[in-house]
Symmetry: C2
């Protein structure tokens, strides 16, 4: 067993860095019968975060830590991303007045590229998938010397994502379980680093993109195929190594949802709350609706609704 | 001066009736620079209420009070509405297992009619505007004996809308001013009945539909022309008499916004928060963005974002 790479103190430090820059996203309590669930839950509406997802927390955390160490030069920031991380880095660059280059795979939705460009970042579209974009960004970084911001392989990124769990503790008080969608593992690792064994942490992945599920079976990160409706946000080939150091200790369950369950959860969030939620953002709720995670009687659940960046017509039409 | 028709005790009683049935809608704190404002505000996200607007508060309040007095017969509920009130009454009817008939003017958006029908109510489309639909509903009520639920001419309706202000007091603590969009006056009267002189209450109406503004000029409700992009939710020809009894005491300012300001505020709420907000729901924010209400330095504002029911393509396109 590897020691957890991120401690609660790291998360507290991240919160101190980013508090003045991120939104405290609201929670909404539902009752039995809503959203197709026979029990009530607390929704953490993290899709209302700056740039439309939790990724702004990690990006601010990493960049502000580097800036205070004098590590951000004239070339500014550089990242590769299928979308949400790139939008967050571009947003952070605009807010802190740095230039930014974002490498986006050609398979990512146009709406996400447009969002990145709308914040003033330079967008490079790379043929292929996330790994191809990451390779191009890494190559470019060696030329430019920009601060590289990987979506999940920095302590400060994971600690930043974990600030959501700090907020939940303040907003909700006692609860038992937090249900989180997993891509590369930075988001769930952040929550797990903060709550440790105080709460149950449940990972939800699409059946078509299951790198955390596979890592648990394998005893460590392993390469998987990626696909499905949430691939642009959750489609990561291999769980991050830092994330695994935390996940192996503090993630209690890992479940899988089908694409149709994700689409159905998006539709329910639109019909009953008029929220436009992207596939990856609706995956955690989908796991409850599909019954692949069934709470114990009285178990108090917090469910992260973590991203909004999609074509609204795909949800409302 | 008429005495206020609704007291804080009425609002407290309404809260006790409806608490188990409505959502405590979340608040979101913005900072200077967001949403085009040079200062931060607290948004009350009342568009996340059941059926997409604050109207569910008043409808539950009226129907539950009548039910406990044995006043709801086999014909159930009846109402006329351009949309949001009708959706709320239909939602209440479904939740409490009553039949409902809703009379909708032909000028109201199809999406609102569809929402009413989706809750299982019988929808009657009446040629003309709200007043025509109300006349048809009143005629039908004399035949059917259903419980008539006017959008703003019942104490229980206004007291129910006022429960939003009770929540704000709990959620926000100290603040100075609440900014509210006005249609027939039930919504702002409810807030004013609760806060009285403890906070400033600011009314926002479209220039094209200004019955509260006109009532203040005239010294009492007077008939006005209605029109503009928010007419389906804010286009009322005459301020309600019960509302006026409260508004005349406790509304501190009344301002007007143009349709283009409303559209611009809708766009900002989509761009920066990915919220689909209907024109009437964005009007209060529009007044701040347009500078027709300018807070004093340090004035702490709560801005109601109060409805979501519109064609999403009109916002996101």
């Amino acid at each position: 067993m590897t020691s957890p790479a991120v401690s609660p103190a790291d998360v507290t430090a991240a919160m101190q860095r980013i508090r003045a820059h991120v939104r405290e996203t609201p929670v909404l309590v539902t009752r039995a019968g809503e959203l197709g669930l026979p029990y009530g839950v607390t929704l953490k509406l993290e899709l209302l975060q700056h740039a439309g997802s939790f990724k702004s927390r990690g990006a601010f955390s990493r960049v502000l830590a580097a800036a205070s160490a004098g590590e951000v030069g004239p070339a500014g920031l550089i990242a590769a991303s299928g979308g949400n991380h790139g939008a967050a880095v571009a947003f952070v660059a605009r807010q802190l007045d740095y230039p930014a280059e974002i490498f986006v795979p050609s398979t990512s939705p146009v709406i996400k590229r447009d969002r990145i460009a709308s914040y003033g970042a330079t967008v490079h579209v790379i043929d292929g998938f996330f790994d191809d974009a990451q390779a191009a960004a890494t190559h470019r970084q060696t030329e430019s010397g920009a601060l590289a911001i990987h979506p999940f392989e920095h302590v400060e990124i994971i600690a930043g994502q974990g600030t959501m769990a700090v907020e939940i503790d303040d907003q909700v008080g006692e609860y038992d379980t937090v249900v989180i969608a997993t891509g590369g593992g930075g988001f769930i690792a952040g929550q797990a680093a903060w709550v440790q064994n105080r709460r149950r942490v449940v990972s939800v992945e699409p059946s078509a993109s299951r790198c955390l599920y596979a890592a648990r079976l394998n005893g460590g990160p392993v390469t998987v195929e990626v696909g499905g409706v949430a691939a642009d946000s959750l489609g990561t080939r291999q769980l991050g190594s830092l994330a695994w150091s935390i996940v192996q200790h503090y993630v209690d369950d890992a479940v899988l949802v089908d694409d149709e369950d994700i689409r159905s959860a998006q539709r329910a969030l639109w019909d009953e709350l008029r929220l436009v939620v992207e596939p990856g953002g609706a995956a955690a709720l989908a796991a409850l609706r599909a019954g692949v995670y069934v709470p114990e009687p009285g178990e108090r659940l917090v469910v992260a609704v973590c991203g909004s960046n999609c074509d609204p017509n795909s949800v409302t039409g």
